[in-house]
């Protein structure tokens, strides 16, 4: 049998190990803890390294160390933990070290609760820490994608020497679905910039400090060029957009709900479509701009105060109405609620 039933959080660990991950450093937090549990079991069984760190701050710095030494390394957490990692993520960006971070989003701010939200969008997609940097961000909406995106994330992280985020949510992390596992183990090669405790790599220096303003400026510009280059990995999914008059834009769990709502609307004569960004950075600006010419309304469905909607509005340059359907605090809309609201709004 090819497909197996996996929990989203467990699928991350399968994807990671097959994607060549050798190190996992993390600190438990609901609803991401199963990732640490599965990593503790499978990384250890596989003779890879799992270490429970003393905090998320320390975890991200262990990652900084392992990444300096050329490893494929990851962690998984949720909002409060990702907040703690902000400084480390900025250092990783400054020193151009690759790693993979999974954020299984819960509700905030503060301790919030453990139900799904998408309120980490700005923090993760815009960088999170200080300085002019970006992360590559994948937004899985199925257990299969939890596995696949994590699997691919390591190679992409290595290629661009960037942090790749898997921005998930409590539902995608907790749910089970059939998954087909990758059939090949991906491997990292010797990285010319990394440290291997040998003569060849001895002159390498991992740092993010440039006291000279000109050099610091140049370094920043170099990073921006790299981020531009990384826009090539843009991915999105279109569903029934060809003749759509109403366009949903949603990622993660919301895109699943919109998918069902879309067909219900179509069966009552409303031509709805869905654009689902699979990457949030890079963001499908161009595609949205194109679709903005064709559809009459855009509805951004988000479990936040409309963080992605800001980017959607920018992408269509506010030419057409962008409605915001927002839920927060762990509230998740039913398909029926969305259908009713759309019928009311058009």
């Amino acid at each position: 049998m090819k497909k197996q039933l996996f929990k989203g959080n467990d699928a991350v660990v399968c994807g990671a190990l097959l994607g060549g991950a050798t190190h996992f450093f993390g600190y438990p937090i609901t609803p991401a803890s199963e990732i640490a549990h599965a990593a503790a079991l499978y990384f250890t069984r596989a003779g890879r390294v799992f270490l429970q760190s003393e905090s998320e701050v320390n975890a991200i710095n262990m990652i900084y160390g392992a990444a300096s030494a050329g490893a494929r390394v990851m962690t998984a957490s949720s909002g409060p933990g990702i907040s703690l990692m902000a400084e480390g993520l900025s250092y990783l960006a400054g020193a151009e070290l690759p790693c993979v971070v999974v954020d299984v989003q819960r509700a905030g701010p503060g301790l919030g609760n453990i139900w799904p939200e998408q309120g980490d969008y700005n923090m993760v997609v815009k960088g999170g820490g200080h300085g002019n940097y970006k992360n590559i961000v994948f937004a899985p909406n199925s257990v299969q994608e939890m596995c696949d995106f994590t699997y691919r994330a390591f190679e992409i992280a290595d290629k661009y020497r960037m942090t790749v985020f898997i921005l998930s949510d409590a539902y995608i992390g907790q749910m089970m679905e059939p998954v087909e596992l990758p059939e090949k183990v991906s491997k990292t090669e010797r990285k010319p910039w990394a440290l291997y405790a040998d003569r060849e790599s001895r002159h390498n220096l991992i740092t993010s400090i440039f006291m000279n303003t000109k050099l610091m400026g140049e370094h920043n510009w170099k990073l921006q060029e790299k981020y531009k280059e990384a826009e090539k990995i843009l991915e999105f999914e279109e569903l029934e957009t060809e003749d759509a008059e109403v366009l949903f834009v949603a990622f993660g769990i919301c895109s699943r709900i919109c998918q069902t709502a879309l067909y219900e609307l179509r069966s009552s004569g409303i031509r709805a479509g869905l654009l689902r960004p699979k990457t949030l950075f890079p963001f499908p600006k161009q595609k949205l701009n194109e679709l903005g010419e064709r559809v009459s309304k855009i509805i951004v469905v988000e479990l936040s105060n409309g963080q992605m909607a800001d980017d959607v509005e920018l992408s269509v340059r506010s030419r057409i109405p962008v409605l915001r359907y927002n839920w927060m605090g762990g509230e998740v809309p039913s398909t029926g609620e969305i259908v009713k609201r759309v019928k009311n709004d058009i």
Partner: protein, 473 residues
Amino acid sequence: MVKVKHAKPESFYKVYERKLTTKKVTHYCPGCGHGVAHKLIAEIIDELGIQDRVIFLSPVGCSVFAYYYFDVGNVQCSHGMAPAVGTGIARTLENSIVISYQGDGDLAGIGMSAIIHAANRGENMAVFFINNAIYGMTGGQMAPTTLLGQKTLTTPMGRSTNRDGNPIGMCELINSLTAPVFIERVSLANPARVIKARRAFKKALFNQVERKGFSFVEVLSPCPVNWKMSPLESRKWIINKLEPVFPVQNFRDIEEKPERYERVEMSDEELLNLFKIEKEMEIKPKTKKISDQHIKIAGFGGQGVMSAGVLLANCAIMEGLNSTWLPSYGPEMRGGTANASVIISENIIGSPVVDNPNVLIAMNAPSLDTFEDQVSPGGFIIVNSSLINRKVKREDVEVLYVPASEIAKDLGLITTANIVVLGVYMVKSRVLDTETLKQVIPISIKKKHLTEVNLKALQAGIDIFKEEAGAHI
């Protein structure tokens, strides 16, 4: 006899290229202890012949640019986090000699958790802790090691116990842990002390060559500039003021090599097999048309509602259908009730959330109370009548009353009530074949010795539906 060497160590760069902004100034102030400590480390790296293997961690503090000088592998770390960074490196490169070089703000202030935990795990690293009782780089604020009464920019009237706490002895703290193999406090106040310090430095580094583990050297070091003293005065101040508070001594020097955790990496082949389930299931081709099943199974924790859901989803996949399973989780479960949402469909499933189930399996009374009203008209409810005394109020749904817990108890395992109701559901709905569940149970159940009784429970469910269904609907 110790020979005093004047030549430059190999592991120092031949020339320190002045970086642009430091063209006119030396990086360290005159009389600073950092230079002495650097030189000792560089000489020992030479002596031990480990230059290629060293990875030197520069902290945030005056020694942030230590990598200007050391011709070794260099990593500049965030404030206080060098021991965490070093953990990442030491756990990646078996051959590395990790040197964590940190100031007292860095190590004993912001980085306290990193150093304590790295020490407690016995990470392979030599830590050189430069205790100058002050924050140097930022211009002279209080450090955790600042002495009582000592004036700094943030203790302008002098450090006071009540307001600021007492100076922290890091050696003493680390000495309370079992994993470290070497702990010593040294002083750079005069040549005799430097020679002693050198021995401690060498031991800490030699321990890394031997892979003995965590070695910690605290170095009482002058910061004449921020102490507002001449270099000479500052050396006297170390002897007269610092040393009485921070006794210069060896705290620990363990000879035997501790047992180390060894790991053996799996091959690709083994890795690919790691996630394969024990027995491959055969997927049957789809034969029948089904209507979408939105199932909610609810009960109290321990009734196996989660695993019942997983079994259903597994059966659905085996029969070539699509399925999603979504649990209640976290504190939700601590309240005593748990529920799983399962969707089974021929089509791709959008939302995995079940708001209006067309099948409700209520294993206890609170579950029926919570979900009865949500069932969609025309749906059906299976009630565990062993634990639920009341009848269903709705009239637009079908209801089956099944004494599942009693049946399970009679079989000798109360927790198989979940399988009894699955049997009932399967024959009632005809969406899934009970034969499929018979195959899935032995594969999915973790406690293999319970396979038999679970299969019996399934049969009991099938039978009870056939016997009683009509009468109770």
